[in-house]
Every structure is written in structure tokens, then in C-alpha cells.
């Protein structure tokens, strides 16, 4: 792999950029792989990357029914934070956050991780208590957060109306080292690195069946033919239930549409990510200048990647109230993605009822921020055949035992 650098750009500029090589190859699938990963989104690619990097397993195919990074990796609001309340969540999201910090260097691909800080507004006394609790837990979990005053909120975000007639800002949970990254670049950077390790990324290849013998997986049928494997990793969103059905099991999960939108670009006006759960809205400003805004999920099963407009309304009115100067700005584009929501709204990572078949799904609205941590944990699970400490508590058995990982406890549900 030829390294990217300012020097490389200068070199290529001399020949009008005609000498750049492919970021990743598009090979035909081989007959058999050690590991087949279904889903070339951020999570699938990260799983592949850490299989190679941490375990030296590189005879890997990542198969994707559409284009790589084209699911929720490419349609989220790019927030990265780890200020979760429950231990297992804090652990995996903090792992992810710390991996994001060095991802550009690790992948030699600038994913533009921007640790600009994330604040979650407390707008009721109840929310204050919830966030103060989180700050206490985070301190013991090794996650650096603090509860800050309304004055400090205003200092960080001067355009905020902290004296809203409806909900005054009473403070915020602040994670200074949280932030955003360029979502597409995360997928592309991983893809380039995986391809460089000799892994095969096979796009426009849909799984049509899961092959099994004696309770163990042996391969998959795809639109590109049969592909055999020793181990199968299902790492998809919006399609996990469907895949699981092919493999003969059901998941405690439903698929719903989640929406987001952006404004037209303006000059910088908000330097941090703001999440306001009481009024349901969150907003940051991309490096291009667009305000990136997240909305809510629909209350019904849906695979259309279109959501209902009233969620956009609810989010926008909350943000206009919170940031009055945005009223005359305009919505440029709205879109939806399909998220898989589990019974406790936390993800599932681990073994399945089918031997040598592993699953990583159900990230709901929180998938992007977890990508490297999720990939790390999943790679370990696949390589060792058993979940390691990061993944152990996210297994399917928690629904039988009632051992939930419920994050709605302190901090609303938005991510």
C-alpha cells in the first residue's frame, strides 16, 4: 500500500493525479475463507481489521449486499462519545473512543476525528440528577466527564438560549474528549487497510442462505455463488433479523427508521456537539459548515429508509427553541436509516445458537461511535470462539436471565 501524505499528494499533483492506486480492490470471491463477515459497514470492516491486526487472521472475506459503508455508517450524525452509565457500555464505548483518537494514524487515512467535546443538556431537576450520577459512574469507569454549570454551557455554546421559557438549561454532562469523525472515511479507511492485508471486500453480493452441517455453519449462499467458511460473522444493521432467520434463529429485536437532517452550510457557529434529550434534538456543525441534526425513531417496523416527517418537526422545533438564531436557516436534506433496536436498546455481540456463527447487531441509534470498539470485541469473539471481556455482557442470554444493560436510565435514549 502506498502511504498517503502531503508528500504523496505533491508527487501526484505533478502528474495531475493520474497515478493514484485503488483504495481497495474488488476481487471475485474465493471458494473458501477462514472467516466470512457479512456486512461491509463500519462494524464489519472493523471486525475484519482487528481480526487481521490482533489475531493475524487475514484469509477473510467481507461481503456486502450494497456498497461498502452504505448502511448506517454513511447516514448517521457522526457523534462519538463514551459517557455511558452502565459498566459494559462505558467499557466498549470508551475503548472505541480511544481507538478513534489514533485511527487516522493507524489506518493512514484521515478520518478527521474531532475531539471537540459533547455536551448533554440537563433541563429538568431529574435530568440533573441523572447526569450527575453518570459523571460519578464515569469517574470510576475511567471515562473523563464532568457536570458543568449553565454559565459554562453558555461559554462553550454562545448561540444557545439557556433561559428558554419552557426548559431552562440547568447544566450539562460534558465529555471534552468526545466529538465527531467523518463517517464515510471510517469505512473507507478500514476497507483500504483490510484490502491491504489481503482480505477480500466483495460488494453487491447478497447473502441468500446460510449453510450448516451438524449444527455448525459451513458457508453462505450468495448472489455470487456459494462461499464456504470456517466461521461466519454477521455484522449488519437493518438486516440482522432477516439474516438470523436464514440461520434459523430469532433475535430480540425490531427494525425501525431513524432520521437525520442537515442545514445549508454556514460559517462556524457551534464548536461542540449538543444533545438535548428533554426536548429531543441534537446538533453539531460539520467541517463543511452544515448543522448536522439528529431526530427520533419511528414507532413502527420499517425497512424503507424513510421516516415520518413529524419527527423532523419535533427535532427542529426543539432546536429552534434552543438555538433561536437558526430559525432562518434552512434544511438542506433529510434522510433515514434503518436501525435495529433490541429489548434493552443495547447491542448484541456474541455466539448464536448456530455453531461457529457469531453475531454483532442491535446497535440501535448508537452504532457509529462504537465502531472500533465493536470491531475489536467482535474480532476477539470470532478469533477465540468465545466473547472476551468487552463483549461478554452483551450476549443473547441476558434476555433470558433478565440481566439487561439499560442505558435509558439516566440519559434519555438519543445517541
Amino acid at each position: 500500500m502506498r502511504r498517503y501524505s502531503a508528500f504523496a499528494i505533491a508527487r501526484e499533483a505533478a502528474r495531475y493525479h493520474t497515478g493514484w492506486e485503488r483504495a481497495w480492490k474488488s476481487p471475485k470471491p474465493k471458494k473458501k475463507y477462514d472467516v466470512v463477515i457479512v456486512g461491509a459497514g463500519g462494524h464489519g470492516l472493523a471486525t475484519a481489521f482487528y481480526l487481521g491486526k490482533n489475531f493475524g487472521i487475514t484469509n477473510v472475506a467481507i461481503i456486502e449486499k450494497g456498497w461498502l459503508g452504505g448502511g448506517n455508517t454513511g447516514r448517521n450524525t457522526t457523534i462519538i462519545r463514551s459517557n455511558y452509565l452502565q459498566d459494559p457500555s462505558a467499557a466498549i464505548y470508551e475503548k472505541a473512543r480511544s481507538l478513534y483518537e489514533t485511527m487516522s494514524q493507524d489506518l493512514n487515512y484521515n478520518v478527521m476525528f474531532s475531539p471537540r467535546g459533547v455536551m448533554m443538556l440537563a433541563q429538568t431537576e431529574h435530568e440533573v440528577r441523572g447526569y450527575v450520577r453518570t459523571a460519578h459512574a464515569n469517574a470510576l469507569q475511567g471515562v473523563t466527564t464532568e457536570f458543568i454549570s449553565p454559565e459554562r454551557v453558555k461559554e462553550l455554546v454562545p448561540i444557545m438560549n439557556i433561559h428558554g421559557p419552557r426548559y431552562p438549561v440547568l447544566g450539562a454532562l460534558w465529555q471534552a474528549r468526545a466529538g465527531t469523525a467523518r463517517h464515510d472515511a471510517v469505512a473507507w479507511g478500514y476497507a483500504r487497510a483490510c484490502s491491504d492485508m489481503g482480505m477480500d471486500i466483495i460488494q453487491k453480493c447478497e447473502v441468500t442462505g446460510v449453510r450448516q452441517e451438524n449444527g455448525n455453519v459451513t458457508g453462505v449462499d450468495t448472489t455470487h455463488g456459494q462461499i464456504d467458511c470456517d466461521k461466519l460473522a454477521m455484522v449488519v444493521a437493518g438486516n440482522a433479523g432477516h439474516l438470523a432467520e436464514m440461520a434459523g434463529f430469532r433475535l430480540p429485536m425490531e427494525s425501525v427508521a431513524l432520521q437525520a437532517l442537515v442545514s445549508e452550510p454556514i460559517k462556524p457557529c457551534i464548536d461542540v456537539v449538543v444533545m438535548a434529550n428533554t426536548v429531543h434534538g441534537y446538533m453539531s456543525q460539520s467541517d463543511k459548515g452544515e448543522l448536522v441534526i439528529g431526530g427520533g425513531t419511528d414507532g413502527f417496523n420499517n425497512y424503507t429508509q424513510r421516516g415520518s416527517f413529524h419527527h423532523v418537526e419535533e427535532t427542529v422545533r426543539a432546536l429552534v427553541e434552543t438555538f433561536p438564531i437558526i430559525s432562518r436557516l434552512k434544511m438542506l436534506r433529510q434522510w433515514g436509516g434503518i436501525v435495529d433496536v433490541t429489548g434493552d436498546r443495547s447491542p448484541i455481540i456474541g455466539k448464536t445458537p448456530l455453531g461457529n456463527c457469531f453475531i454483532n447487531c442491535g446497535w440501535g441509534t448508537g452504532g457509529f461511535k462504537s465502531i472500533p470498539g465493536s470491531g475489536w470485541a467482535m474480532a476477539e469473539t470470532v478469533a477465540k470462539g468465545e466473547p472476551g471481556s468487552l463483549a461478554a455482557e452483551f450476549g443473547l442470554n441476558r434476555f433470558t436471565e433478565g440481566r439487561f444493560i439499560d442505558e435509558s436510565v439516566a440519559a434519555g435514549v438519543a445517541h
Partner: protein, 1010 residues
């Protein structure tokens, strides 16, 4: 130079001049002008700078597709960035400034990016700025952020108001051009209820510019006659200045009406967002002309040929004295002819096709215009405006044949139907080889709730580009939509125009065909985002082969115009680079809105006081008048405390606690949920809803009850009273009334529908006041004495945990002897209409007994002193009653209740679950809210092991020390042990607290039972 012609301009009224300023310069236009027309009329060719390279940008188009000409419009509380001048109506006093430059439009330092453009190809930022690691955040990102963005940031809140409007109709026709009008005629004649919306303020679209005849009259005359006919139909509604922003599922259309953008400050809502439900949609959205890709095609003065024509015909504006026309189809000739007719110079028409034989080409020749087939533009000369072009063979590599001086270039690369509204909800496209565009595939229309197609396309939005074809297609579309919407069949014929002959267009994706890489680096596809032909080719070379990858890698089509001009050209370049057919490449997804719509319009009326409903009790105004600090509790606002002048909230709370414990306190408890459950099966039902046994509660008695979710977690609590043999009254938490009501209805309707039980929510029928403290009985007795009667509230007549109906003073009341404070307490419900009067009466009568109202914080402290749990504090959705030592409230006798099975799962019965205890600090201080207790060592994640947490913590003014409750591992077995709570206030201190009984005050309950 661009200028206003001496005559002409079908849309302007020269007797009504309008003054405006651009970058502070005073300018003049006319009523009917767009801001774009007015700027061009004043020779303002340069209007902005591009996003990435800060290149000079001029107006390219005449409508919603304009990518370049965005301005900062207005000032102060009416300031709006990124306003498109081609869709801005001119009004007197309009002010605007250009965007994305420093220090000035003419001299922009950012243009340094342009000189470095060779080092800044598509996606360059993914390949650099990586070392050192911290530099991205501290150096590169701030610089990029500052140079990116377009418009300025508003600094003030919006002065205008907005509103929504719901409309229900049979047929919505999107677009008021001749196609939309023809569709409307058909739909209108069928009797269907029709709404026609047009985004501009005039009817007829572009057809009148192009001329021709409909039914023997001029296009203009036909438009006027048709609008008049439609206005005469009662079932047809016509609406201008209203754009269809998006089509959503089940026939939902958003209409964005710009009511008062052109009359700011006249008191009308600025925008009105129409939320339309319709059976059928006709998209008569027209087509958009495509630019051609030649070197320097972004220099101000290079415009779409149709736009050049529009400015001349509609607004009497010439964009140049000498305009070179370059085209790959017949339509470009119309511009040449129009300009010639207006007395302007057209030095040459460059037709990329090998031959120019169509009737329009012949007409041009006949008008004395030089026509050069097989020719292309090798390069446009000029910087901030066009000064000339070099021409070359289209079939060659760009060797200049001739230099031609000109000050404008009109380009036509063919037309693409506007398919957004068709596509928003899943309508599919097919590639039309002859017209080289994607058009709607009528066999794969979006489908509605009934599974049937609900969108039809009309006119050039369907593909036909000639007047005759447009009218025929549109009339049929109108008929089809009306029929599908239940209209009657019509026989009357639609409008007709004569068919015209035309020479087929030729696809020309770059000009000249063999252009070198150096030339391709100067061919702009996306003008605003600075994406060139070479960038798309680079993306393909690097493996970003999916159209979505290319879009995202190059930012093609991601600017504020969303690629209306650039997408098809970009797709063609990408397909060519990948050596595949264009339909194989496909398109990116069309998403709403069609053009950007204001956040204000989306928020609608929901601003300020009506942002969200505020629920008020009958005594709310009294609380506000008393200066209470109000706290949101769900949608309610409740008094947190009533601070007196000079008092802090904390002092007020302490005073309220002490006064209530020593004298008399009043709490507005009206927000507590009150549900009536009645019926022969009500007892059975109550036993399922509550963990306790409720069916054996005696009439006249009260019992505290718990409700759990099916997942076992504690969800609500409250006192239940048995009113009659078949009737119970359930109190819920303040936030719980609607939730629990819905919960009960859900079970009754969907699981036990054969049980005879009715539930009614009477929360708001009643005002409820907690009269609390040692003097509580005295004040009630005084009221009764004043009224000369009333109920007996003595201990004997109304003992603890009983209720009674009767009169308190003059008020009809239901009185519950229940206590959440540990004091003698009566909770008294009166009709809400008398709530305020009752409150006033209590205050007046209570004066001699030291009455004071108290708020929610005082309530919390008093319940904590008593060790009572609070839903939302001790519970958080993960806590089961057993965790809270509430086993006494869980019936062992009942076979089943909601949550019972869940509580039998292994994790729920795990002895390691944290359990409720009291906590008191060794030094008497108050434990921090939310603090966790730590054990030894770390867990598998390297996190400190936690063994418990604080759930409620207060300073107890009664006990003069901190008290707390918390959940602690093996807590109830560890009475007296001391646990550590690290702080997070930066002091690194650890607070030590002793585990104790959670009941801190009056452990035997003597005070409440007097």
C-alpha cells in the same frame, strides 16, 4: 456587460421601480423582478465565491436549480444566509451581501486555494493532515472550518412568525407551468378536489418564453385563459409562491408557502408549511437544462441557454452584448434567436453535433446567425467575467481554431426531467437513450397505503420536451390522477399544440471529446462545491466506484442545490470512467426537500410559550404570583419551593419542612393521577395491575400499592382507595396518570377484553390539596365551623388510611387520611373549578395555625426522612420492588400479577442485587447526589468495582444533618458498616457513610396516626 434592455420583460412592471442594495451598493429593479434579474440588470455578474477554491461565481440559472448565486439577505432579526437570488422576489428596501469571501467579493484571500487547486483534488483531506496526531484538532480543522461554510451566521432571534396548515384533497398538482395547468384542467373537469401549487409567483412556467401556440392562441393568452377557467372551478384551488418540498408516504405532501418573504414585516406569517394529505399527486415539475463541461465553464457569464432566454423575455435583461451559444441540441438555438430578436449580438452558435439540420438551426441561419456544427469550446477566457472563447473541434483534443470575443456564453447540454417528487417515495427511473436523461418509469410508481400508485408525472417531468407532447402527456396525467382519486370520466378534449420537428440531440459529456487532463481539471460539474470532471475520474480510479462513493468522495451534488445541474453530467463521467452504461451506475437517492426550507417553517407555531404545552393546576396562577420557583415535572410545572424575598431556595425549602412538621403545610397535589376503575371484574383486574392484593381492600379504606412492568421493574406507586363494592380509585405519580391510564386500557382492550371493567381518568376533574402538619385537623375543623357543618375529620371518624366524602367548609370534598410526610395529613380533593377557592380558603383559615405552602423539594425531603421511596429517584427502570425492601407490598397469595413472572428470572432473584438502605455520613454532611460506593479492586474492564449508589440525598432540616438512601450490595445485612463514596468535585476526596435504617424520622409512625 449585462444590462436592462430598453423594452420587454413580460413579468416586470417598469412603472414600479424597486430600490435595493448589494454589498452596500444602491441598485434598482422593477416589480416582478427576481433578485437575480435585478442584479443582472445592474451588470452585477460576479455574485459570490465558490466553496472550496473561492473562485468567482456568477448567476448560471434562472430558477430553483441555481448553484452559485447565494447571498446573505436582510439584516438583524430578518437576516438569512444562503438565499438563492433566482428565487428571491425583489422588494423595495431589500439588502443583500455576497458570501464566502474575505475581505471582499472582488478581492478574496481565500482564492489562494484556487492557485493551489492542483494540490487539492477530490478527497485530498483524507490523505493528509494526519501528522502530528494533535494537529488535526488544533491546526487543520479550525482552518478548514473557517474557510468552509458559505453564508454568515445570523446573530439574532427571528422576528417573524410561521404557521402550519393541514389540507386534505383528492389531487395535488405540483407545478403551475403549462403542464400543471393542463393537468389541472383535466382533474378539475372531473370534479375532483384539486390543489395546484406553483413555486414562483406567476403561472405558466417557461413555456411562454419559448413561444408557440396552444389551441390557436399564443401560449401567454392560453395561460391567462386557463388560469381564469380554473379559478372559476369551485373544486380547484390555485396557489402560487408555494413549492412542494417533499412527497412522503401515504399521499403526504409538504407545501412550503412563502407568504411574506417579499413583504417583510407586514404582519403575516413569513412561511406557511402545508401538510397535505391527498389521494393522488401529479408532478408537473418540468425539466432542468444541463450545463456542458468545457474548460472554464464556471466563469461568471457562462450560463444556461434557457436562463439567458428567460432573463431576456421575462425580465427584459440581457446578460451580455455578445453571447456565444454552445449546444448539443436544438433548444440552444431558441436562445440565439431570442437574443438576435432583441437586437443583441450572437457571434456564433457552436453545435457539438456533426451537423445542424433542424428547423431551429435553419431559422438561426436565416436570421443571419453563424452556425458552426461539430464545434466545441476549447476554453473560456476571462477571470471574474467572460471575455471570449476559444473554439475547437468537438471530435478533437482541443486545439484552438479561433478566438471569439464575447461577454456571455449560453450553454445547453440537453434537459433532464425534475424527478424529485416522483422519487422521494420510491418511484423508479428509466434511462432514456434518445434524450439522454433519466425519466420516471410509469410502471414503477410510488405506492400508497392501498398499494396503488399515487404519483403520476405530467409534461416534461415525464420526458417529452416539446409543447405538443407536454400538453398531451399532462392532460392525460390529470385525467388519470382524477380517475384514481374517484373523479368522474371526462370526454372534453385537452389543449393541443402543433407537433414540431427536431433534430435529435447528441450526448456530449465533455467538450471537446478528447480533452486533456489539464482541460478536464478546469471543467466544472458542481459549481458550488468545486467538483470537476477530473475529480470524478479520480474517484473512479481510486475505487470509489459506487455512485454514492463518488458523490461522497468528491462532494458532487452535495451542495445547497443538491446537484440539480451536476448530477447527470457527473454520472455520465463516472460511467465513462468505469466503462459501464449510465443506468448501471444509477443515481444517488433523491431526498426532500426539493430546495431548502426554513427551520422556522418546520417549527411552525411551536415557539416560545407554545413551544410545548405547559400543564397548569387550578392553583398554578397562585404559585406564580407567590413567586414560586417552578420545576418541570413532565408537562406540568410544579412549585419547587416558595422563596420569600431575601431567601435562597435552600433556605425556603428548610423553612417549609420545619413549618410543615411543626405547624401546617399545604401542597398542591392536583397533579397526582386519579383513575377510577369500575366493574364486576374490577377487583380481579386490580389484582393483576398491582403487586399487592387490592380485591380485598374494604370499602372506605386506602392501601399503598405498587405497579410493575411485565419486565418486572417498578413503574409506579400510589394509594388506592376502594370507593364502592365494584369501584376503586387509583392514585398514580404526577408523571404517571396518562401512562398508567393507557397501560390499564391496553390490558383491558388487548388481553382481558372479556373482563367487565371500565377505567376513567379523572385527574383533571379534581384539585387536590395535601393539608399536612400537626395543625391540619384544626384548620379543617375551623373551615367546617365557619360553614356551620361539614364532615367529621376526627381520628375516630376518619382514621389513618381511610377516606370519606362530605363537605369541608363550603366545599364538596373527598378526604383521604394518607400521609407521604409522616405528619398528620389529609389529602383533599375538590372539583377543579373550585380548586383555587379552596386553596384560598385554606390559606386564610390556616393563618392562625402557621400555614405555609410547600413545594416539591420539601415533599421530597419529608418523604426521605420517613424512608419512603420515590418513583424516579429510588427507581430508574432497572429496580424491582424487592430491591427496595418492599416485599411486604408484594402479594404471595396471588397466582399472577404483571411483573411476577419476570421477577422469577435468575438475575432478579440474585442475592447480589443491590438493596435499599439508609446512609448517613460520618461527619453529618450531605452525600453528593448520584455518588457511587466503591469496593476493592477493579472489574474485568479495569473499572473500579462499585458496590452501591446514592438514590436520594438531602439535608434534613428536621434532623439537622445529611440523610440519604441508596442501593448497596448486601446492604440490609451490613447495618452499621461504613462505605466509601468518592467525589467528582475535583478534590479527590472520599466521603464515608454508614449504612443505616432508611427511616430516619418517627420510625413508629406515631405522628401521622394522631
Amino acid at each position: 456587460m449585462s444590462t436592462r434592455l430598453a423594452s420587454g420583460g413580460r413579468l416586470i412592471d417598469r412603472s414600479k421601480p424597486k430600490n435595493f442594495t448589494f454589498n452596500g451598493k444602491r441598485m434598482k429593479g422593477y416589480e416582478g423582478d427576481t433578485l437575480a434579474a435585478a442584479l443582472l440588470g445592474e451588470d452585477q455578474m460576479l455574485v459570490g465565491r465558490s466553496f472550496k477554491y473561492h473562485r468567482p461565481r456568477g448567476i448560471v440559472a434562472s430558477g430553483a436549480e441555481e448553484p452559485n448565486a447565494l447571498v446573505n439577505l436582510g439584516q438583524g432579526d430578518r437576516f438569512e444566509p444562503n438565499q438563492r437570488v433566482t428565487t428571491t422576489e425583489l422588494f423595495d428596501g431589500l439588502t443583500c451581501t455576497s458570501q464566502n469571501h474575505w475581505p471582499s467579493l472582488e478581492f478574496d484571500v481565500g482564492v489562494v486555494n484556487n492557485y493551489a487547486a492542483r494540490f487539492l483534488p477530490a478527497g485530498f483531506y483524507y490523505k493528509t493532515f494526519m501528522a502530528p496526531a494533535a494537529a488535526w484538532k488544533h491546526v487543520f480543522e479550525p482552518v478548514i472550518r473557517k474557510s468552509a461554510g458559505l453564508g454568515q451566521v445570523p446573530t439574532e432571534a427571528d422576528a417573524d412568525r410561521y404557521e402550519h396548515y393541514y389540507h386534505h384533497t383528492d389531487v395535488v398538482i405540483i407545478g403551475g407551468g403549462v403542464a400543471g395547468l393542463a393537468s389541472a384542467l383535466a382533474a378539475g373537469r372531473s370534479g375532483a378536489k384539486v390543489l395546484v401549487m406553483e413555486q414562483t409567483h406567476h403561472w405558466g412556467g417557461r413555456a411562454a418564453v419559448d413561444g408557440g401556440e396552444i389551441d390557436g392562441q399564443s401560449v401567454e393568452a392560453w395561460i391567462d385563459a386557463t388560469v381564469a377557467e380554473l379559478e372559476g372551478m369551485e373544486n380547484v384551488t390555485l396557489r402560487t409562491r408555494m413549492m412542494a418540498s417533499g412527497v412522503y408516504d401515504h399521499g403526504y405532501v409538504l407545501g412550503y408557502e412563502r407568504v411574506a418573504d417579499h413583504t417583510p414585516g407586514d404582519g403575516r406569517p413569513r412561511h406557511r408549511l402545508w401538510r397535505i394529505r391527498t389521494k393522488q399527486i401529479v408532478t408537473a415539475t418540468g425539466a432542468i437544462e444541463r450545463p456542458l463541461s468545457f474548460a472554464g465553464n464556471d466563469i461568471p457569464g457562462v450560463m444556461l441557454a434557457s436562463a439567458v432566454r428567460d432573463y431576456a423575455v421575462n425580465w427584459g435583461v440581457s446578460v451580455g452584448d455578445r453571447t456565444v451559444v454552445v449546444t448539443n441540441n436544438d433548444d440552444g438555438y431558441r436562445t440565439a434567436l431570442t437574443l438576435k430578436e432583441a437586437g443583441l449580438d450572437v457571434p456564433v452558435v457552436l453545435d457539438a453535433r456533426p451537423e445542424a439540420t433542424g428547423p431551429l438551426a435553419e431559422a438561426a441561419r436565416a436570421a443571419g446567425i453563424r452556425v458552426e456544427p461539430g464545434r466545441a469550446i476549447a476554453k473560456v477566457n476571462g477571470g471574474k467575467r467572460v471575455t471570449g472563447v476559444s473554439i475547437c473541434l468537438q471530435a478533437g483534443e482541443g486545439a484552438a481554431l479561433e478566438e471569439i470575443a464575447c461577454d456571455a456564453v449560453a450553454m445547453s447540454g440537453g434537459w433532464s426531467p425534475v424527478v424529485h417528487m416522483w422519487s422521494h417515495c420510491g418511484g423508479k427511473l428509466i434511462w432514456d437513450e434518445a434524450q439522454t436523461h433519466f425519466r420516471p418509469d410509469p410502471d414503477r410508481a410510488p405506492t400508497g397505503h392501498d398499494g396503488e400508485a399515487f404519483v403520476v408525472t405530467a409534461g416534461s417531468a415525464s420526458g417529452p420536451l416539446d409543447l405538443a407532447g407536454v400538453l398531451e402527456n399532462a392532460y392525460e396525467a390529470g385525467k388519470a390522477a382524477a380517475k384514481a382519486a374517484g373523479g368522474k370520466a371526462i370526454r372534453k378534449a385537452g389543449p393541443k399544440a402543433d407537433a414540431e420537428e427536431a433534430q435529435p440531440m447528441a450526448p456530449v459529456w465533455i467538450m471537446p471529446q478528447g480533452a486533456s487532463i489539464k482541460k478536464r481539471m478546469k471543467m466544472w460539474l458542481d459549481y458550488q462545491n468545486d467538483v470537476k470532471v477530473s475529480d470524478v475520474q479520480l474517484a473512479a480510479r481510486e475505487g470509489y466506484e459506487s455512485v454514492e462513493h463518488t458523490k461522497r468522495y468528491t462532494t458532487l451534488g452535495m451542495a445547497t442545490d443538491q446537484g440539480k445541474l451536476s448530477n447527470i453530467n457527473g454520472l455520465a463521467i463516472l460511467s465513462d470512467a468505469l466503462d459501464q452504461e449510465i443506468p448501471t451506475t444509477g443515481t444517488t437517492t433523491f431526498r426532500p426537500p426539493y430546495t431548502p426550507i426554513s427551520f422556522g417553517a418546520i417549527a411552525g407555531e411551536a415557539r416560545h410559550e407554545i413551544f410545548q404545552p405547559i400543564r397548569r393546576t387550578p392553583m398554578h396562577q397562585w404559585h406564580e404570583d407567590a413567586g414560586a420557583y417552578m420545576e418541570p415535572v413532565g408537562h406540568w410545572r410544579r412549585p419547587y419551593c416558595y422563596a420569600k424575598p431575601g431567601e435562597t431556595n435552600e433556605q425556603a425549602v428548610n423553612r417549609e419542612v420545619l413549618n410543615t412538621r411543626e405547624n401546617l403545610g399545604l401542597l398542591d397535589a392536583s397533579t397526582l393521577g386519579k383513575l377510577i376503575v369500575k366493574g364486576p371484574d374490577a377487583g380481579k383486574f386490580m389484582d393483576m395491575m398491582y403487586t399487592n392484593m387490592m380485591s380485598n381492600l374494604a370499602v372506605g379504606k386506602c392501601r399503598y400499592g405498587l405497579m410493575c412492568s411485565e419486565n418486572g421493574f417498578l413503574s409506579d406507586d400510589g394509594v388506592v382507595a376502594r370507593i364502592e363494592e365494584d369501584t376503586w380509585l387509583c392514585h398514580t405519580t404526577s408523571g404517571g396518570a396518562d401512562r398508567i391510564h393507557a397501560w390499564m386500557e391496553e390490558w383491558l382492550q388487548t388481553e382481558w377484553w372479556d373482563w367487565k371493567v371500565y377505567v376513567a381518568n379523572v385527574t383533571e376533574q379534581l384539585a387536590q390539596v395535601a393539608v399536612v402538619g400537626p395543625n391540619a385537623r384544626k384548620v379543617l375543623e375551623k373551615l367546617n365551623a365557619q360553614a356551620g357543618g361539614g364532615m367529621d375529620v376526627s381520628k375516630e371518624a376518619l382514621p389513618f388510611m381511610q377516606w370519606a366524602d362530605g363537605k369541608i367548609g363550603a366545599f364538596d370534598a373527598r378526604v383521604y387520611r394518607i400521609s407521604f410526610s409522616g405528619e398528620l395529613s389529609y389529602e383533599i380533593a375538590v372539583p377543579a373549578s373550585q380548586g383555587r377557592a379552596f386553596w384560598d380558603a385554606l390559606l386564610e383559615a390556616g393563618e392562625e395555625f402557621g400555614v405555609m405552602p410547600y413545594g416539591t423539594e420539601c415533599l421530597h425531603i419529608m418523604r426521605a426522612e420517613k424512608g419512603f421511596i420515590m418513583i424516579g429517584d429510588e427507581t430508574d427502570g432497572t429496580v424491582i420492588p424487592q430491591d427496595l425492601g418492599l416485599n411486604w407490598a408484594i402479594s404471595k397469595k396471588k397466582e399472577d400479577f404483571l411483573g411476577k413472572r419476570a421477577q422469577q428470572r435468575s438475575h432478579m432473584t440474585d442475592p447480589e442485587r443491590w438493596k435499599l438502605v439508609g446512609l448517613e455520613t460520618l461527619d453529618g454532611s450531605v452525600l453528593p447526589d448520584g455518588a457511587y460506593a466503591v469496593g476493592e479492586g477493579d472489574n474485568v474492564h479495569g473499572q473500579r468495582n462499585m458496590i452501591g449508589r446514592v438514590t436520594s440525598t438531602y439535608y434534613s432540616p428536621t434532623l439537622k444533618k445529611g440523610i440519604a438512601m441508596g442501593l448497596v450490595l448486601h446492604g440490609p445485612d451490613r447495618m452499621g458498616e461504613v462505605v466509601d463514596f468518592p467525589t467528582v468535585d475535583g478534590t479527590n476526596t472520599v466521603i464515608k457513610a454508614r449504612i443505616c435504617d432508611p427511616v430516619f424520622y418517627d420510625k413508629d409512625g406515631e405522628k401521622q396516626n394522631v
